[in-house]
Amino acid sequence: MWAFGRVSGFISLALFTASVLLGILNRSGRPLMVLPRFSISLLHRNIALLATVFLGLHVGSLLLDSFAKLKPVDVVVPFLGSFQPFWQGLGTVALDLVLAVVVTGLLRHRIGQRTFKAVHWLTYGVWPVAMAHALGNGTDVSSGWFLLLAAASAVALAAALLWRLSPTFLETSAARQGNHP
């Protein structure tokens, strides 16, 4: 259970990283090489859902693990855990936020764009929280491959964020700034 819990945690984090990158790419309105825009949109969703499934496996298996000593309340209320309450609490915070994002994502047509987008902005908060939880709570921080994965993800996300904030982010930004193509 311990090993399974750790591996599912990594997979979940990696998938969330991919989902955030695809979300940003989707937002720019650009297709990616051979992938049309609607495929990116679908990939973004499906990878996010897959990541959430692995997140469920991660938490579920550690609930059953005797070493992690997770109590059911730790799954929803942060900072109560017995093992590293702060770092573990960050994991709980991330879980709660992800659930909010996924539920509002799936009910998008029901709740409207405004509410959906307001909650969806949380994703930019979720990622660093989840990464901090992995680094602070995990027992693999000392191993090189994990640090490498973490650093690569952080660099990719930082680059994507800078691109997101740059004035030429939108596919149509040239035309909209008055320069006709």
């Binding site: 297709p31 609607f38 764009q113 596919e171 149509t172």
Partner: protein
């Protein structure tokens, strides 16, 4: 019964997902916004669809990142009360 694809211009941000899913129905202008092919006036906002395009239109409605699209079933082609946004 005709299916009508309604574009809410106050929501649309010209992201072009719909123009990919309905290439035969929608063209894209320089700003990225969808333009109904061969249509003018109100029919650029409430676009009558051929039955063959209905499924793709449904997909576009659920994938539009701005929730700007909706499908309506109409006896007559379009309603009088709505004006085109642009």
């Amino acid at each position: 019964m005709t299916a009508i694809l309604h574009i809410d211009w106050t929501s649309c941000d010209g992201r072009g997902l719909c123009t990919e899913l309905l290439p035969g129905v929608l063209d894209r202008d320089d700003w990225g916004y969808p333009v109904a092919r061969g249509k003018s006036g109100r029919e650029r906002t409430d676009i009558p669809l051929r039955d063959a395009d209905r499924e793709a239109a449904q997909e576009a409605v659920s994938l539009c990142p701005k929730l700007a699209l909706s499908l309506q079933e109409r006896m007559e082609p379009a309603r009088e009360s709505r004006k085109p946004g642009r």
